[in-house]
Structure formats: structure tokens, C-alpha cells
Symmetry: C2
Subunit: 327 residues, 2 copies
């Protein structure tokens, strides 16, 4: 079996996670890292990995089987994704749920024109959580699915706090409400408001002289981000933040409780407990990059999501071995 030649676009937390995940994928080889930043600003984690200018990527078309796009969903991917999908088979983690249909359409058109495969919105949510929502609903059509997130750091909410005047640094954790989780698991099928499903825990370092009461009020009343939640604000020192809140843990639960026959209760649950959100998302992307290369080799073209990928394509093991060892 010849190795799958992968390349990374963007070397932030996600790109570094992909670099590490590729090192665990014995059937894949990292061709290089592409960035808009000057090459000397990029420090590959593995010695000898070449760094290239993103503007030169077209000259590498013959040496790359699949491009793993590690840019952000807000501004990077909407522009980079369709531009690159015409020229490369790609995997990305586009995660702005409301814009997925538009992004998917743009990627599908570009990938079809370039005769490439683009796997979009790959990660855990969207991604493995979506897959489990679909599976559980297909198997238990009469039922209700609940998704809980956390305990974990929400980058978007942390950023929102940092924009408040007087805040020097902040980390926000999304925390599922244990009683709500228990009700859902018991198949009680509760009607849960936003406030009843998750709480928000904030750890905030203030600027010199900032008024904690003003900052607290600005956080808890912030529309959409915090006003619909029970929000706990903790003021801590910079040293405490560095010591206790520099990780990027996350996780969550997809639970469907349904009924079969004459009201027989059946419950499916999928959960993740992650010490590093970006490293796990990166690991999912690398498994799907393997599938993307294989789908392209099968002659497929266009955009696909986790819903369209047969699970065997994710594994380096041969089909007969999978049946014997894992079925």
C-alpha cells in the first residue's frame, strides 16, 4: 500500500494537532505545511517537515493527495475552502452550523469542477456528534435527541469576555447541568430550556483598576452569549489562569431516548471526554483525510459530510481484517 500524501494549511492549534495526528497514522505521510505567514514564523513540531508559502501551493499539486484545511470558520475557510477545493482533495472542520448549507454548496461546486473530493465540517460537532444524531434517529424514529456540551472551554465565549473593557484575560467553560443529563438518560424526555441544559463558568483576569461589578454585569447580561444562561463569574490572578486554565478540554453527550414496540424504552448515548479539543478534532480530520483520498481514488467528486462516508474508509486496516477483529 502506498502512503497517502497529506499537507496542512494553517499551523495554529488545529494545524499542530493535525501534524501530531499524522505522526500516528502509519499509512500517511506529511508532505508539508502551508501558511500565509512567513515560513520562518512556523515551527513544525517534527524536525524536517517543510514549510511553504500558501501562495505557492499550486506548484505542489502533483505531490499532495489530500489537503487538511486548518483555518477558522469565520474568515479563513469561506474564502480558502472553495479556492482550494477546485485544485485539491480537501478536509475541513467548518463549524458555523447556520452557514453549513451555503458552505457545502460552494465546496461542492468547486470540488466537482476540479474533479476532487471535499469532506466538509469534519470534527466532533459537527462531525462524530452529527453522525451519532443521525444513527440514533434512524434506528429509533420515535424519540428525542439531546446534545450536551462540556465540561469544556468555548473559544467564542472566552473571546467575547476578552472584548469587555477592563478584562485582561478570560476562559469560559460550558458545563452541562447534571440533573438535566440524568433526566434525559432516564428517558424522561424533559422539555429543557437553554438555561436548564448548560451553565457557564467564567474565569476572568481584570486589568489594574477595573471594576469587578461592572465587568460581571457586562458578562452576565451579554445578549445571546450569556443572558439566557446561569453564568458564574470568578475573578482570578494571571498566575492562577496560567496554572489552571491553559488547557483546552472539551467533550459532551449525544443522547437519544426512544421507544419501540408498545412503548418499550430504549436509550443510545455517545460521549466524548477530551483533554484537548483541537488535538481530538485534528485526529478526526486525519481519519477522514484517509477516507477522502480513497473516495477520490474511487472516482467520486464533490462535497461530502460525515453522513456520506462508509466507516471502513476511515481505517487503515483491510476490510477482511476489520470484519474479523472488530465486527
Amino acid at each position: 500500500m502506498s502512503e497517502i500524501r497529506a499537507a496542512i494549511v494553517g499551523h495554529g492549534n488545529l494545524g499542530r494537532g493535525v501534524e501530531q495526528a499524522l505522526a500516528q497514522a502509519l499509512d500517511m505521510h506529511l508532505v508539508g505545511i502551508f501558511s500565509r505567514r512567513p515560513a520562518e514564523d512556523i515551527q513544525p513540531l517534527t524536525a524536517g517537515v517543510p514549510v511553504y508559502a500558501l501562495s505557492d501551493i499550486d506548484s505542489h499539486q502533483d505531490t499532495i493527495d489530500v489537503l487538511i484545511l486548518c483555518g477558522g470558520s469565520r474568515s479563513d475557510l469561506p474564502e480558502q475552502g472553495p479556492a482550494l477545493a477546485g485544485r485539491f482533495t480537501t478536509v475541513d472542520s467548518f463549524d458555523t452550523h447556520a452557514r453549513i448549507p451555503d458552505y457545502y454548496a460552494a465546496m461542492d461546486e468547486a470540488a466537482r469542477q476540479g474533479h476532487n473530493v471535499s469532506l466538509v465540517s469534519i470534527g466532533w460537532d459537527p462531525g462524530l456528534f452529527s453522525l451519532n444524531r443521525l444513527l440514533a434517529e434512524a434506528v429509533l424514529p420515535q424519540g428525542t435527541t439531546h446534545t450536551f456540551w462540556g465540561k469544556g472551554v468555548s473559544q467564542g465565549h472566552s473571546d467575547a469576555i476578552r472584548r469587555i473593557p477592563g478584562v485582561r484575560a478570560a476562559v469560559q467553560y460550558t458545563v452541562p447541568v447534571p440533573t438535566a443529563l440524568a433526566q434525559v438518560r432516564n428517558g424522561e424526555n424533559p422539555a429543557l430550556s437553554t438555561r436548564q441544559k448548560h451553565t457557564r463558568e467564567c474565569y476572568v483576569v481584570l486589568e489594574e483598576g477595573a471594576n469587578p461589578q461592572t465587568v460581571r454585569e457586562a458578562i452576565v447580561s451579554m445578549p445571546y452569549y450569556f443572558d439566557e444562561y446561569d453564568t458564574q463569574v470568578n475573578f482570578i490572578s494571571e498566575a492562577q489562569l496560567q496554572a489552571d486554565h491553559k488547557g483546552m478540554p472539551h467533550g459532551g453527550f449525544v443522547i437519544r431516548s426512544g421507544s419501540t414496540g408498545a412503548g418499550t424504552a430504549q436509550t443510545c448515548e455517545f460521549s466524548l471526554q477530551l483533554q484537548s479539543n483541537p488535538e481530538f478534532t485534528a485526529s478526526v480530520m486525519v481519519a477522514y483525510a484517509r477516507a477522502a483520498q480513497r473516495m477520490k481514488a474511487q472516482g467520486l467528486t464533490g462535497a461530502y459530510s460525515v453522513f456520506d462516508v462508509a466507516p471502513a474508509l476511515l481505517s487503515p486496516r483491510p476490510a477482511a481484517e476489520l470484519r474479523q477483529m472488530l465486527l
Copy 2:
């Protein structure tokens, strides 16, 4: 969208579960129930469902899109499966793990010759548990997967107890050991013996005059079934058995703890809590029957497992709606 025309072969617990699951599948229609038993011995749960002799099934080839095989893995499926796969697209729940490669090969050959699709070993284990073992391993190649079963009734172990002289009736529950489950969830990656993973709880009704001590000894020392486990034997009355142990609950856990990057702990868990094992297995089979019909319509032929089925094929919802609602 025209309805998918499904038929059931065999009307035991599993076949009745399929009949109930098809009633929840609005895009599918139950054409009839086929059995080797005389038609008057079969009582469909829904009025008006026709019952046919299995020996006449060939005359129904034009009216059936997919046949759901509900026979047992020991003697029914090894014979019926390959015989029917040449003439119909099929789904079965063949679950003798050690014999899956042989069964798969026989089904693959028959289905290819008949230009049909056969989805084999569909249910939850083998089935959804297998799928989660594959997914978790592909995403976290450095790690360990543990499967726990229960708390639930094991039909095979209950049958084994019933064959002991002096036993009138018996039900056996497989129970995961909570401390072992907790260790695995915490990513401690313990080396667990058979005895350390599961205990076995037996509820036994004795014949008049049978010696409880003799029966207990016969159970706990039974090779393969009980001797490697901590086994609890409870003698109860027939009335208690009827009152408390007539259900067929089951479930279990597939947990993979792995590490990414420089030793970052990541854990995936999939679990089921089922009030009725056969009704849930049947529900999985019906979702995969939908996929089987679609794969046949796509021009595929041969045998496939859960590893080969793209998740979107399981859902009655259109692809764009799935992306918008569940991704």
C-alpha cells in the same frame, strides 16, 4: 418517493420486533411474513399482514425489495442466508462472532451471483458496537478499546442453565463490574481478566426435590459459560420469575481511551440501555434494510457489513435536510 417493500422471514421475538419497527418506518411497507411453520400458527401483530409459507417465497420475488432474515445464527441463517441471498436483497443479524468470515463469504458469493445486496451481522453487537469500535480506533489509533455488556439477559447462558438436571426455568444476567467500567472511563487502561470485567447473576427455578447445592455447583463450574466468572445463583419461585424476569433488557458500553499529541488523554464512549434487546436489534435491522434497498438501487452487489454503509443511507430524510438539521 415510492415505499420500500420489506418482508420478514421468521416470526419469533426478533421477527415480531421487525414487524413493530416497520410500523414506525413511514417510508417502508411490510409485504408479508414468511415462515416454515403453518400459517395458522403465526399471529401478525398488525391486522391484515399476510402470512406465507417460506417454501413459496420465490413466487414473491417481484413484490419484495428487501428480505429481513429473523432466524437464529446457529442453524437457521447458515442455511437460509446463502439460499435466499441469491434471490433477494437481505438483512440479517448473524451474531456468531467466530464464524462471521465464513458466513460473510457464503453470503457474498450468493449475493453476487444473484446481483443482490446482503447486509450481514446487523444489530448492536455485532452492529452499532462494531461501528463504534472501528470509529474510535480510526480516530484514536494509539489507545485501547473495551466492550462491556449488560446489565442484560444472555439467552445462551440462560439456556445453558436450563439444560442442567433439576432446573425448571432460569434467567441469566450479564453485569459489567462498576469499578472496571470506571477505570476504563478514567483512561487508566487496566489489564482486565474475564472475571474482572463482568459478573453473572442467575435466577433459577428448581424442579420439585432438586438439590440446590448440586445445581449451584453445576452452574458455577460450567466450563466457558461460568467457570471464568464470579457467578451469583439465586433460587426463586416460578411466580417470582414470571413477575420480575420476563423482560429481555440488555445494553452495554464501548469505551476507547487513547492519547494524542504528547500523551493527551482522549476518551470516546458509546452505550446502549435497552428495555428490549430483540426490539432494538430489529430497529437497527429495519434502518439497515432501508440502506440495503438503496445500495441495490445504486447497482451494488455482494455482502456488506455496518462498516460499508454510509450513514445517510439509513435515514429516510433527504441529504440536504440531514445536513441542515443534524450536521
